[in-house]
Symmetry: C2
Amino acid sequence: MPVDAAQLWTLNHRLLTAVLDACSSEMAELGLETKEFFVLAEVGASPYPAELAATLVIPKASVTAYVRSLVAKGFLRREIDDEDLRRHRLVLTAAGETARDRALAALADAFGRRLERITPRDRSELARILGDLLGP
Amino acid sequence: MPVDAAQLWTLNHRLLTAVLDACSSEMAELGLETKEFFVLAEVGASPYPAELAATLVIPKASVTAYVRSLVAKGFLRREIDDEDLRRHRLVLTAAGETARDRALAALADAFGRRLERITPRDRSELARILGDLLGP
DNA sequence: GACTGCTAGTTCGTTCTCGAACTAGTACGA
DNA sequence: TCGTACTAGTTCGAGAACGAACTAGCAGTC
């Protein structure tokens, strides 16, 4: 392989960490911890705690904690799922949607500043390649 | 911008998380916690705790904890820097080098399995684009 | 309907994390 | 050479993270 995978991974990890660090203060102003933000951003696509734990690769117990905090802050609401009484369907409140959108904007802005360093063509190349890496 | 930066970032983050999760058990077998591994892998390039904290974007107090653990396991050694008596120059032991190399191999393997999904050309494209994103 | 085995989500208690305060050493100007 | 201001690394204590054990509900078998 012409490319050292570990090095590539580490490079990428550092990039993501730096970007996240750059917008963590803005998230804090919105009343969001970093990990909570991930939950908030994903709740639309994966509305059940077990699903969130699986897609975000975090323990169930941690999801419980983040959801508890997000509910306390009024960003999220738990609803009982009539299909399966064990499940808690998680619903974004209006405040939750606002916070999520602002946090996503902050992230997009922080990452966007990095992306400006590369050409639009490279940006779409990157998107395509990452999509292939995550796809089936 | 034709590409949604936040989405791209999230995609990438999920990829890295999944890969790390896939090789965390192998790291555990080597006696390495994930965070400790990052320190171990970087110690060659950034041999001082303050430097590690800066490049890895983690708090100094955490570096202290990881280094303490790595020293206790015999992977790392602290040496006083004659140039500046405040600094602790960190040196890999033979065991530390072995553990680092094996952990890097495990990471390369886990990420490599993903990278196999894309063409060699895309792999080097990815490396170049990520390099541009992190560079000056 | 009772039994077995599964999954959803929470709780508990230990372990990890890290901001703030601290000690020790450096750098430099007066 | 003292004083002030800075940086390196550690310690401490409070809060966060999470594995294991738990409760509640589902699903299939008898």
